[in-house]
Amino acid sequence: MTQQPPVGHLLDEALLGEPVASTAGGADEFVLEAVGLHKRYGHNEVLRGVTFGVQRGDVKAVLGPSGSGKSTMLRCLALLEPVESGEVRLEGRRIGVREARDGRLVSLPERVLARERREIGMVFQRFNLFPHLTALGNVMIGLTEVRDRDRKEARTIAQSMLARVGLAERERFFPSELSGGQQQRVAIARALVMNPKVMLFDEPTSALDPELVGEVLAVMEELAREGMTMVVVTHEVGFAKRVADRVIMMDAGSIIEDAPPDEFFGNPRQERTRKFLEAVD
């Protein structure tokens, strides 16, 4: 493994303002919950009743073959796509929908959804940094345009956050001038600076050269250690074993296994999980 950047303390109450995720509320409460999510694209039923919850401070790893609906599930949890039925709950409160007069649930307008999305951080496989903004600009934009912080304050917070993911010297660089690992760390900082209640990661290291995977995983491990609630879709079995509190197996739009890592990897109940693990090893 190559040399890794120093990762500073990531969740800091003084920096982010509000109480950090790990200290608020009870320990066994679900921060994020999916209840019977159904989602289809045309005739393609992508999610067929997905139900699970993430407890405060827990890391949930999601494994599963390509096309099983992992990314779709994260997009639905992040309120980026409407579901056919089922609910997403954040700290016990149903989000993303309202009850119509006839009792059915209808998706809220985009403007209102935008407000609810602030509480949920998302990191993408292909980083999706904004190419016209510097590393600093990418981290600042959520603070200035969503959290309504003034530019000076936002700059200070963003600089500190970039330093914490080991990129203090790169703040003036544009995404096209950064390595994949650096870009993904900026993307994590961009989401983190919003002080979300939960972070969703969609294969955050899959688009990286092997020698750059470590630096991104290091940031994520530090985040987990500091008590951030996380859902991580990944093919990194090592990461799941080391960091996850529970591991989920997704197959054809359903969760077929949900167990602590030693059980999941040591003695999976489902034949399909066993086959999948043999294939990735």
């Binding site: 992040a78 985009e110 403007r111 935008a114 998302m122 999706n128 904004f130 190419p131 345009e145 544009f174």
Partner: protein, 244 residues
């Protein structure tokens, strides 16, 4: 060879030509500004979820990209007042008619360019902006628009240069722009070469000035940290060329 340089220089500095140039510039700017606004609206309608709105946008582009600019000028200047009597007043000047015709024309072209620009922005950009919690208007203005503008600058600049020359068509509806001025000078003196050459010089100068402006604008869309300091202009232009 018969070329009277004194007539040429006289034409070049004559008040008639300077006024003509002003009208040419004004018409170009007005037609481009309204054309771009129209184009943006039509491009957004074209991507709308509503079928009727999409249909309206498609029809607009279909019609006004097909009609020759000259025909549009005649239609607006001569045809429209026949249909709409309110336009028969003196206020409906050749300048206004030309502005309307050329804006409508440009709108159809700009709509397609802007639509292409919108399509060129990676879908992940909108997704990431929405995930951050940006409102729909900010997703567009802060994330999509800058990236769209960057790719549309070269083709829209091309349209600007075309427009500068298209305005000369308005001489046929009696607008006293640059070409009309040289025409009338020629018709009394028969010094074709001198007067037309003077007009040509003006068009060259106008386009050259615009090229400098375009380079300035493009430089602001070089998303490189070195772009704002250190490098010489030549290096920056080279850098831009390699990005594109």
């Amino acid at each position: 060879m018969e070329f009277d340089t004194s007539i040429f220089f006289e034409a070049l500095t004559s008040p008639a030509y300077l006024e003509g140039v002003q009208i040419t510039i004004a018409l170009t700017v007005v037609a481009m500004v309204f054309g771009l606004i129209l184009g943006l609206v039509v491009a957004l309608l074209r991507g709308s979820a509503n079928r009727v709105l999409r249909g309206i946008a498609w029809t607009y582009i279909w019609i006004f990209r097909a009609l020759p600019s000259l025909l549009l000028l005649f239609l607006v200047w001569d045809g429209l007042p026949q249909l709409v009597p309110a336009l028969k007043g003196d206020w409906f000047s050749a300048f206004i008619a030309a502005s309307v015709a050329l804006s409508i024309n440009e709108g159809a072209y700009a709509a397609e360019i802007i639509r292409g620009g919108l399509l060129s922005v990676d879908e992940g950009q909108r997704l990431a902006a929405r995930a951050l919690g940006l409102s729909p208007t900010k997703v567009f203005s802060k994330v999509i628009a800058p990236q769209m503008i960057r790719v549309t600058i070269p083709p829209l600049s091309n349209d600007f240069v075309s427009m500068l020359k298209l305005t000369s068509l308005a001489s046929v509806i009696s607008l006293q722009e640059l070409l009309a001025r040289s025409h009338s000078a020629v018709s009394t003196t028969f010094k074709f070469a001198e007067y037309y050459a003077a007009a040509a010089v003006y068009y060259l100068v106008l386009v050259s000035v615009f090229m400098v402006v375009q380079a300035q604008i493009e430089r602001r869309f070089v998303w490189m940290s070195q772009g704002s300091s250190g490098l010489s202009r030549v290096q920056r232009v080279r850098q831009f060329a390699t990005i594109r």
